[in-house]
Amino acid sequence: MTAPQTQTGFEITLNGKPLHTRANALQALLIEQGYALQGAFACAVNNSFVPRPQWPTQTLQAHDRVDVITPIAGG
């Protein structure tokens, strides 16, 4: 799959860490960063949940904060 990309890219935060990306949509970012899309995880942008069907169309902008969450052990 070809990920939509900008020419020069921009700065975002991924899981709390600064990141320079050229992906201008959430799914493109996930692919760019090497996430297996079928994995057991969910995403939020700027602390708002983004349902999986919306990943391809969820646009990203500079300074966006992206979180990718997965199950762990818990009490």
Partner: protein, 272 residues
């Protein structure tokens, strides 16, 4: 008639929470076990039908998070994802929405921490989040203190279960305020009440079950026991014993001693 699983645990009458019927009244956490196999064995020994799980950030190089989830899925229990670590209503709501997608369940164990030292919940934020999540169709299992009024508010907000602590998370100190727990049980007879956090020994679990709580939820007391598998079974028996005692109506306490053996026909005794 008691339902008995293949583990031999006398669960008592089945009960209902959040639209499902359960035999076990013992919810178990999945953290801090010495090994994945010990976790699986402890789950089997406990007879639990509900497991709690957490959620954290996933780095792409860590493999997709599927190994843990596959192991937990294979245990065949209902999954109760938690919002542990959240410090605001909005964080908890967002994490609950993410959990619903990952786990395919409306169940959410709502935790909003208000104090990092005691891990005491922020009950105001918990109520705000619970209200919104319940409106959105979630079955909210709300972790709270033993405060009666906030428990009433959470119940009125539509929570599937209200879950007061016995003591701060991970302390194992047992019920610090049994009076408050007993008062909550008597004041909310129609609510599903689950004691969550602070239990350290099976006798603690039996104690709160004798008060009429519907279930207990714990993790550390099993996971960090010297023998987690045997302790899981010990807790299961404590929970079942406490529930059986509650259903059997314990005798009232008396101020004065009363002989168990009749004095009628006692030899060597003659009226003066």
């Amino acid at each position: 008639m008691n339902a008995t699983t293949d583990t031999g645990i006398a669960h008592g009458q089945p009960w209902q929470v959040a639209g499902v019927t359960l035999k076990s009244r013992f919810f178990l956490g999945t953290s801090h076990y010495p090994s994945p196999q010990t976790l699986s064995d402890a789950v089997a020994a406990s007879g639990t039908q509900v497991l709690t799980v957490g959620m954290r950030r996933l780095q792409p190089e860590s493999g997709g998070g599927n190994s843990f989830w596959q192991r937990i899925s294979a245990l065949g229990c209902h999954i109760l994802p938690n919002t542990a670590g959240c410090h605001s209503a909005q964080e908890a709501i967002t994490l609950a929405q993410m959990a619903r997608e990952i786990f395919g369940t409306q169940w959410i164990k709502l935790e909003v921490i208000g104090d990092d030292y005691t891990l005491q919940p922020d009950t105001h934020a918990t109520l705000a989040a619970a209200t919104e999540l319940a409106r959105d169709g979630f079955a909210v299992f709300a972790y709270t203190t033993d405060d009666l009024v906030i428990a009433k508010r959470l119940h009125d907000a539509g929570c599937a279960a209200v879950m007061p602590w016995a003591a701060p998370i991970g302390t194992g100190r047992g019920p610090l305020n049994p009076y408050a727990l007993e008062t909550m049980r008597k004041s909310l007879p129609d609510a599903v009440l689950v004691v969550d956090a602070g239990l350290g020994r099976p006798s603690h679990a039996a104690q709160v079950m004798e008060l009429g709580f519907d279930a207990v939820l714990l993790n550390t007391a099993v996971a960090q026991a010297g023998d987690p598998v045997r302790m899981a079974r010990a807790f299961a028996d404590g929970v079942a014993g406490g529930r059986a005692a509650y259903e059997s109506t314990p005798m009232p306490e008396r101020a004065a001693a009363q002989a168990s053996t009749s004095t009628v026909g006692m030899p060597f005794w003659h009226a003066p």
